[in-house]
């Protein structure tokens, strides 16, 4: 789960990372009130989860209430690369001497946490990595050992920040690592991390991605949920606890396992069709889960046929078959279904489906044959009996 900037800053503040005084506003009057409270000048910042806000005009400096009114009015409702601005973060503007970059993430190759620190902040870090890779100081932290202050200090020295920033940077990086690990983050990033004229080091932005798998031990994360911008299909899938990604084709896909679901999309594409979605019902999916998956697919008006591709390991064939039968009884499924069922208890599953097979529910023995059938049905080029 990605946090908005204002959530990220509130999250950082819990760990003692210095952030600017500020508040959220969903309308112009509130924006002015927040600005009056935090003190002028202020920065009015669009809260969208997409890069390039500044260039798009979503970040503006305001010196008085009139300017806040103007900028807030312009930014609210603005479309930034497909993200409509519904909320603003207003904070007291900081004086900036220098801009740095700092982050922690998991390096899958090294199987350790990776810290990156650069004296060249405030710009896209990909650009720095490409044009001047030597400007990024990297540190690998063994998750079983943790980050020591001594190692953090050597890291800061290697990044060649202004010596005035050293103590402040070490302090913030120790706290950022704590926020990263204690909070089970996939990513914590500060860009820019600034040095002020009076020698303070301070987080001017906050990018935080939480590991959804760790939600079970973070009940407080519920406050972050509910604001993510999902399309209607994705919102329904999320409510049902399904791994769903909306695509633009007309063959609805249900498969078990991310790899098989991706492969199912690939095969539909190869035989000339276009997947409407990626939907992984996961391992051990019950009849209820299958019924929910069908409901989600059915809610997508673009879907002209449905391809259910199940290779049971932990998922049992009879559960899948019961789910389909249950869903067919519960909701009117508009598109014809092609199912390929293999693996654990597949024969029991096929036996359960047998009496229900028709033009609307067809069974095919292999993935390729089922894909061809589903694509032909979507194109309306087959109407024969199953």
């Amino acid at each position: 789960m990605d946090l908005f900037e204002y959530q990220g800053k509130q999250y950082f503040a819990r760990f003692g990372i210095p952030v600017s005084a500020g508040g959220v506003a969903d309308d112009v009057d509130t924006a002015v009130k927040v600005a009056d409270d935090v003190g002028y000048p202020v920065v009015v910042k669009a809260q969208v989860q997409v890069g390039g806000r500044g260039k798009a005009g979503g970040i503006k400096l305001a010196n008085d209430p009139d300017e806040v009114r103007t900028h807030a009015g312009n930014i609210l409702g603005m479309d930034i690369r497909g993200h409509v601005v519904r909320r603003l973060w207003i904070e007291h503007a900081s004086d900036i001497d220098e801009e740095y970059y700092a982050s922690f993430t998991l390096d899958r190759s090294a199987k350790k946490h990776l810290g990156m620190l650069s004296a060249e902040g405030g710009v896209e870090i990909e650009t720095v990595a490409e044009e001047n890779p030597g400007a990024i100081a990297r540190i690998h932290v063994d998750p079983a050992e943790g980050l020591t202050e001594e190692a953090a200090r050597r890291w800061v020295e290697a990044a060649k920040l202004n010596p005035k920033a050293t103590d402040g940077a070490v302090d913030i990086l120790m706290k950022l690592y704590e926020a990263y690990t204690a909070g089970d983050c996939d990513l914590t990033e500060i860009n820019p991390l600034i040095l002020t004229p009076d020698g303070r080091v301070h987080a001017l932005d906050a990018k935080v991605t939480l590991d959804d798998n760790a939600a079970f031990r973070h009940p407080d994360w519920e406050e972050f949920a509910g604001l993510a911008q999902l399309d209607a299909r994705e919102a329904l899938a999320k409510e049902k606890g399904l791994q769903y990604v909306g695509l633009s084709g007309d063959v609805g896909i249900i498969a078990n396992g991310a790899g098989l679901a991706m492969s199912t999309c690939d095969v539909v594409n190869q035989v000339g069709g276009a997947p409407a979605n990626f939907l992984d019902i996961g391992g051990g999916a019950s009849a209820e889960v299958m019924a929910n998956a069908l409901e989600v697919i059915n809610s997508d008006e673009a879907v002209k046929s449905i391809f259910i591709n199940i290779f049971g390991g932990i998922t049992r064939g009879e559960e899948v078959a019961n789910g389909i039968v249950q869903a067919l009884g519960r909701v009117q499924i508009d598109a014809p279904i092609v199912i390929r069922l293999d693996g654990t208890n597949a024969e029991e599953g096929r036996a359960i489906l047998e009496p229900h097979l028709s033009d609307r529910l067809r069974s095919k023995p292999t993935m390729l044959e089922a894909a061809r059938e589903a694509v032909a049905l979507a194109e309306g080029t087959t109407g024969g009996a199953a």
Partner: protein
């Protein structure tokens, strides 16, 4: 021959009760012919479930049975502890199928094993397990879809694609030495390279089928290994050609992968390493059949 497990492998089931995933799949593994010598569950210590004795701890179970492999099927919150308990009891091969373990826990567990228990290999988590057909099946692979006898080794990052791979080869009457599902989580205990190296060293394995997927750089690292350290032929598939860009990991993630992480980039790297790349699982089956026909 085989890699990692064979008919002599003695397996413990951690999280063993009649209605748990461990119970269901552990007993299926036993029915397949795997030597399941014991279960671990502190609440059922001293009982027997379908002829399998239950112990209070892994250490007790190892002491009593001489087990040299463990099957961890406990929920995410308890899985890292269960893995480390098995390692501390000296179990050299640990298979964890648990899905949904937080990435930080995986990284910490991996590095703790490396530091404190270098003699233990972890397979998984979030993997289907391992099967040496006709000898030993640990995990959730439906054993009946696997044809044994070699000459092909299979290694896969995705669970269900692992079954698909076994199925494709069986349909062509091609046998498998060992099939390993390494799992698609951020920090797998066993990598493609670990398996490729073991297959390279296994005299019965003559060719390898490899199933990858988008994200990370494991396939690119495997390609490098194949190019420099392997002389056995490899055929591969990478799932996700049509997948939209996945979860955005922010700027830092894109940089450390050292690759775009796309299916195309992975397929290119594998082709450059001399690997024959199929565009779907069925094509890999055909490529393997062509390779086997030359033996």
């Amino acid at each position: 021959m085989s890699i990692f497990v064979n008919k002599a492998t003695k397996v413990l089931i951690q999280g063993f009760s009649p209605n748990s995933q461990g119970g269901f799949h552990g007993l299926r593994n036993k029915a397949y012919g795997t030597q399941v010598v014991g279960g671990v569950n502190p609440n059922r210590a001293g009982q027997e479930i379908e002829g399998v004795p239950v112990f209070a701890s892994v250490a007790e179970a190892v002491e009593a049975t001489g087990a040299d492999a463990s099957f961890v099927a406990v929920p995410p919150s308890g899985a890292p502890g269960a893995i480390l308990e098995a390692a501390a009891a000296g179990v050299p091969f640990i298979v964890c199928i648990t899905e949904g373990i937080p990435a930080h826990d995986e990284a910490k567990t991996y590095n703790t094993l490396l530091r404190d228990f270098p003699g233990s290999r972890l397979l998984g988590p979030n993997c289907p397990g391992i099967i040496t057909p006709g000898e030993c099946n640990i995990g959730i692979t439906p054993g009946e879809i696997a044809l044994g006898g070699g000459p092909v080794g299979i290694v896969s990052r995705s669970g269900t694609l692992t079954y698909q791979a076994l199925n494709e080869l069986k349909l062509k009457d091609i046998g498998v030495t060992t099939c390993v599902g390494i799992g698609g989580d951020p920090v797998p205990g066993t990598s493609f390279i670990d398996c490729l190296e073991a297959f390279q060293n296994d005299p019965e394995t003559k060719a390898v089928a490899m199933f990858g997927e988008i994200g990370g750089s494991a396939e690119e690292e495997a390609a490098e290994f194949i190019a420099t350290k392997m002389d056995k032929p490899v055929a591969a598939y990478v799932a996700g050609v049509t997948a939209p860009p996945g979860k955005k990991m922010g700027h830092a993630g894109a940089i450390i992968s050292g690759s775009k992480g796309t299916a195309q980039a992975k397929m290119d790297a594998l082709r450059e390493a001399g690997v024959q790349v199929g565009l779907n699982p069925t094509e890999v089956g055909e490529l393997i059949a062509d390779i086997v026909a030359t033996f």
